[in-house]
Amino acid sequence: MRKKLISMLLCATMVATAVTGCGASDDKDTSDTSVKKGTDEGSKSDETVKLTLWGAEGDQDFLTDVVKKFQSTYSDQKFDIQIGVESESSAKDTVLTDIEAAADVYSFASDQIADLVRAGALANLDEVSEVLKKANKTLDDVKSANVSDSIEAATVDGKMYAFPTSGANTYFLYYDKSKISETDAANWDTILAAAKKAGKKVGMTLNSGWYVASFFYGAGFTTGLNADGTTTMDWNGTSPDGIKGTDVVKSMLDITSNSAFRAVTDGKLSDTLKSGDCCAIISGTWDAGVAAEVWGENYAAIKLPTFTVGDKQVQMHPAYGYKLEAVNAYSENMGWAVLLAEFISNEESQTKHFETAEQVPTNIKALEADSIKKNVAVAAATSQADFGVIQEVGGKYWDPAKTFGEMVAKGKISAKDDAAIQKVLDKLVDGVTAPLD
C-alpha cells in the first residue's frame, strides 16, 4: 500500500517537475486523480485468493476441469484462478525473465529444474509442507505415491522443489510394421537397410542436445551439473565402458551418411512424420497420435535401437525426463498455490491427464490402469525407464551440443580423420564446461 502510494506520488511529481522544468504550470489535477486512484486500488478485499496457472496448450481443457474440481474441494474459500498458456519446454525462459510476474503454479520439464532452483524461482516444498495438512497429506505421502525416479527428478540437493505430474518425457522408435520387422527395429544398421529397401527414410533430430546425448549416454559417457551451474562432460575421453568418444562420433557419422537417414530439424519431427516420407522416426509420446494416423494398423513403437561401435552393439540411452508442477517462490498466496499444484499432481488428476492428453502418470496407482498398460507408445517409453538417463546439464550445455549435433547431421566432420574428431569433441567439452559468464 505504502509502495503503491509512493509510486503514484512519484508519477505525479514527475509530471509536475517536467512541466515546470521549463517554467511553471498548474497540473494539480493530475496529482489529485492519481493519488485517488492509488487509494481505490489499495482497498482490495483479502477474501478472494488470486492464482495464475500456466500449462501447455493441449492441457487447457484438462486444467480448466481440474481447477473446477479444486475449487469445489475447497469450497469455503473464494478463488479467482486464471489459466494461461505456457508450454513446459519453454517455461524456464518465460519465468526467469521476470520471476515475480510468472504464474503461481506452472508446469515445466525436469531438465530445467537446476536453473530454476539456482535463480530461486521455485518454492522449497519442505518449507511449506505443513500446508498439505489441508489436503490430508504429508510431503512423504506425495513422495511415496509417485515413482521414485520422478521424485528424484524433482529434488535438488536433498530438497524437493516440485510435484511430479507426468513421466516418460523421452524419445523412442516409432516404425511402420509393414516396412520394418520388429527384429530389424532393434538395430540402426538393419533399420536403415530395411528403410533403403522400402525407399523410405528414417528420421531423427540431431541438432538438439536432448537427442544427441543418447549415443554418448549409451556408450557410458556422462554429463553432470555442479552447484555453481556449470556442466561437467567427459565425451572427449574414454568412457568407463571402454569406448572412445571419437568412435561414438564415427558410428554416428556412419548413420548420418546413410542415404536412408534424414536429420530432422529440431521441432519438425511431426511435420516429417506427417509428410509420409519416413518408415521410422525417433520421437516421443506426443507424436503417438500422428504416427498412428500416418501408418494406420502398421503403427508400432519400441525402445531405441542399438548402434554399432567397432564390432560391438551399443544400446542408445535416451534422456528420460518428467514433467513437474512448480510453485513460484514469489507467489502471493503461497499456501493455496502449493495446494493447487499438489491437486494437479494427485492420482485422480494424473489419470485424467492421461485420458485427455496421453501423459504417462508418475503416480504408482494411476500407472496400473489397463488403458495405460495397453498403450503402445507408453509401453515403448516406459520400457526405457531402466536405462533412460535423467539429463543433468547446465545452461551452457545446449548451444554447443546443438552445434555439435548439426555438424554430425550435416557431415561436417570427416569420419576418417581421428584427430579432427577429437578436436571437435574437445571444443564441445570446452564450450559445455565453460564457466557461466
Binding site: 489459466i83 521441432g267 511431426s270 511435420d271 500422428v290
Partner: protein, 286 residues
C-alpha cells in the same frame, strides 16, 4: 517532347516494357499467392509437396471465428484495434506537436533537443526493452493495454523528422503574417499548419495505427500472463507457429494473416499517395 513520345510509343517496346514489369510483379507476388492459397487448404499443417493445396476448403477461416484456447482471432482483432486507435491518437499528437515546435517555432533549447533525439535514435531499441518492461512493472502496467499503448506511443516524439520536414515547407511568411495579426501560436498550429499538412497528418495517423498490428516483440514481452484472449493479433498469430502448434495451426495462421492483411492493405493503398506527397514534400525543401 512530342517527338520523343512518338519514338517511344512503338508497340513492341511498350509490350516488352510491360511484360518486364509483369514478370517482376509476378516474382514479387509468389509468396503472397502462396499465402492466400495455403489459407484455403483443407489440410491443417504445412503442405510441402505442391504449391497449390491438394484440397480446397474455407474451413480454417470458419475455425478462426470459432475460438478455441489457442486461436481467439475475433478477440485479438478487437484488442489490437483498441490499442491501435489509442496509439494512433497519442502518437499522431506527439509527432505533430514535436514537429511543429521544432519546425515553426524558435527557442533556445531547440537545437540541443533535436541533437538529443538524433543520439537516442542511434541506440538499438532492443536493448532498452528489458528496462522498459521494468518501468512498466513499477507502475503496474504490464499485462495491460495501457502499458502497451504507452510503449507504442510514449516515445513516438522521436519519429518527428518526416513531419518536421513537411512543416518546413509551410511558407514562413504566412506564419509571420498570422502572428502579426495577433494569432496565438496555438491557433496557427491548429487552424493553419495542420489543415495545410493533410498528407503528413494522414501519413502519421496511418503509420502509427499500423504499429500494433506489426509488432510482436514488445507485445510478447508486456502481455506475458499467457492468457490467449488478451493477445494482440501479432502475438496470437506468432504463437500459432510454436513447435507444438504449427502442425495444427499453420493453415489458420495463413488465414489469419490474410484477414489482417486486407484492412492493412487498404490503409496502405490510401497511405501510399500521402506517403509519397508527405515524404517528398518534406525532403525537397528540407
Amino acid at each position: 517532347m512530342k517527338v520523343k513520345k512518338m519514338k517511344d510509343s512503338r508497340l513492341s517496346t511498350i509490350i516488352l516494357h510491360n511484360v518486364l514489369i509483369g514478370v517482376i510483379a509476378f516474382i514479387w507476388l509468389i509468396p503472397i499467392v502462396w499465402l492466400v492459397c495455403t489459407s484455403f487448404s483443407a489440410f491443417s499443417g504445412m503442405n510441402t509437396h505442391t504449391f497449390f493445396p491438394e484440397k480446397w476448403s474455407i474451413s480454417y477461416y470458419v475455425k478462426l471465428f470459432h475460438p478455441d484456447t489457442v486461436a481467439q482471432f475475433p478477440q485479438w482483432f478487437i484488442n489490437t484495434f483498441v490499442v491501435a486507435c489509442a496509439t494512433c491518437v497519442i502518437s499522431t499528437m506527439f509527432v505533430l506537436m514535436v514537429a511543429y515546435a521544432t519546425s515553426i517555432m524558435r527557442f533556445p533549447m531547440r537545437k540541443p533537443l533535436m541533437n538529443m533525439a538524433v543520439i537516442l535514435n542511434l541506440f538499438p531499441g532492443m536493448l532498452a526493452m528489458i528496462a522498459v518492461y521494468f518501468v512498466l512493472k513499477t507502475f503496474n502496467l504490464t499485462n495491460s493495454y495501457a502499458g502497451l499503448i504507452m510503449v507504442y506511443s510514449a516515445s513516438s516524439g522521436l519519429g518527428y523528422l518526416i513531419a518536421k520536414g513537411f512543416f518546413d515547407t509551410v511558407p514562413r511568411a504566412l506564419c509571420e503574417a498570422a502572428r502579426i495579426d495577433g494569432c496565438s501560436e496555438a491557433r496557427i498550429f491548429f487552424q493553419m499548419v495542420i489543415p495545410m499538412s493533410r498528407p503528413i497528418v494522414v501519413y502519421t495517423v496511418i503509420s502509427s495505427f499500423l504499429m500494433p498490428w506489426m509488432d510482436f516483440v514488445y507485445a510478447k514481452m508486456i502481455l506475458n500472463a499467457g492468457v490467449s484472449s488478451k493477445y494482440t493479433v501479432a502475438i496470437g498469430l506468432y504463437k500459432m507457429l510454436d513447435k507444438q502448434l504449427i502442425n495444427d495451426y499453420f493453415t489458420q495462421f495463413c488465414a489469419g494473416g490474410v484477414l489482417v492483411s486486407i484492412p492493412i492493405s487498404i490503409l496502405f493503398i490510401i497511405m501510399q499517395k500521402f506517403y509519397v506527397e508527405g515524404i517528398t514534400g518534406g525532403a525537397v525543401k528540407g
